[in-house]
Symmetry: C2
């Protein structure tokens, strides 16, 4: 397809696609005439992926580029996860954290064998700190149930990755899944809360 069709197919303006091409986020199309190139289905997918990373994940173009470079370098799964996570996650300086908040997190994820500098561990401790500052006690039981749910999701994520063939395809699933999985879980959490409140307190719209 021509660039105009790629634009129609993906909803991305032609100028945006040209920008992706210039920045190396998107590989060049096949040259079909001196001033014309053709694009394929892999370009459609890639444009959608770039938009998922930038629009849903809030990644900068530079970060999107480094994640895409990682996908294309045939990395083992462990390494691909590390790159996806460190690009998508905010980095928390351990020195800004209370020992107490770290301890609370550690007791909820004991047995996971997390490194001291695990970015998820540090980010979780910061949330616990913010929670307490806002006057909210965090029950140890509450955090442990979050941790249990996170394990279910992580295992589901890894199974999804393993269902894909080839390192590049697996890395693609890791990157897209890391960004979109957070949004998916947050959405389902809202629905589940609505369902649970109605189960516990009845449906106010039917009163």
């Amino acid at each position: 397809m021509r660039i105009s069709e790629l634009s129609r197919e993906t909803g991305a303006p032609v100028a945006t696609i040209k920008y992706y091409l210039r920045e190396g986020l998107l590989s060049a199309g096949e040259r079909s005439a001196p001033n014309q190139a053709t694009y394929g289905e892999e370009h459609v997918r890639r444009v959608h992926m770039i938009r998922a990373l930038t629009d849903v994940g809030g990644l900068s173009v530079a970060d999107t580029k480094s994640v895409i470079d990682a996908i294309e370098s045939d990395l083992p799964v462990t390494r691909a996860f590390e790159i996806a996570q460190s690009t998508v996650s905010e980095h928390v300086n351990p020195e800004t954290l209370d020992a107490d908040a770290l301890e609370t997190v550690d007791s909820a994820i004991s047995g996971w064998g997390c490194e001291a500098d695990d970015p998820g561990r540090l980010a979780a401790a910061r949330v616990v700190m913010n929670f307490r500052k806002a006057g909210q006690g965090t029950h140890p039981g509450w955090l442990a149930r979050y941790a249990e749910a996170a394990q279910l999701v992580a295992e589901a994520d890894l199974d999804l990755v393993e269902s894909r063939t080839g390192l590049a395809a697996q890395a693609e699933t890791i990157v897209v899944g890391t960004v979109l999985g957070d949004a998916l879980f947050a959405a389902l959490r809202r629905s589940a809360q609505a369902a649970s409140t109605i189960r516990r307190y009845g449906d106010p719209s039917r009163e």
Copy 2:
């Protein structure tokens, strides 16, 4: 405490606190002299809550104000959840969604009794659409496991809310929990993925 101490205690600049006071996000301190007011612990907690909502939750000052107004009007739990969710969540126009993506979500959350316009349901369907567009098949099993985990978290959230005494305190937990809970889960998901990849594929740092 004086406003300068409130600033030191919370890390919020005095100008920011004055802005919160002007906008009605923070209640006035007790007047102790014609040009001086004293603030208490509830002001410290409230400033931390405002910052959690704006900084972590990305809420505008206007949205933060409407959520805080809701907290102060002694609403029943069901209604407080609705307000917190509708303020924090992005609104998805159902007309932009594929029937197919909605069907996929519905089959994962069947039995929850969600309304057709449930914001979580619509947001989840949009994520599924973005996932597919980026060339990622979503296994029905993968989504169902996310839904199962979301139910665990929602039940934990409601138990935390019920552990608080009084409607205002419960509404406070709902609002803070809705915003910070997403960040907490995302952080724990990262750690759980790291733990699970090491369990499945070994630890690359020990090779």
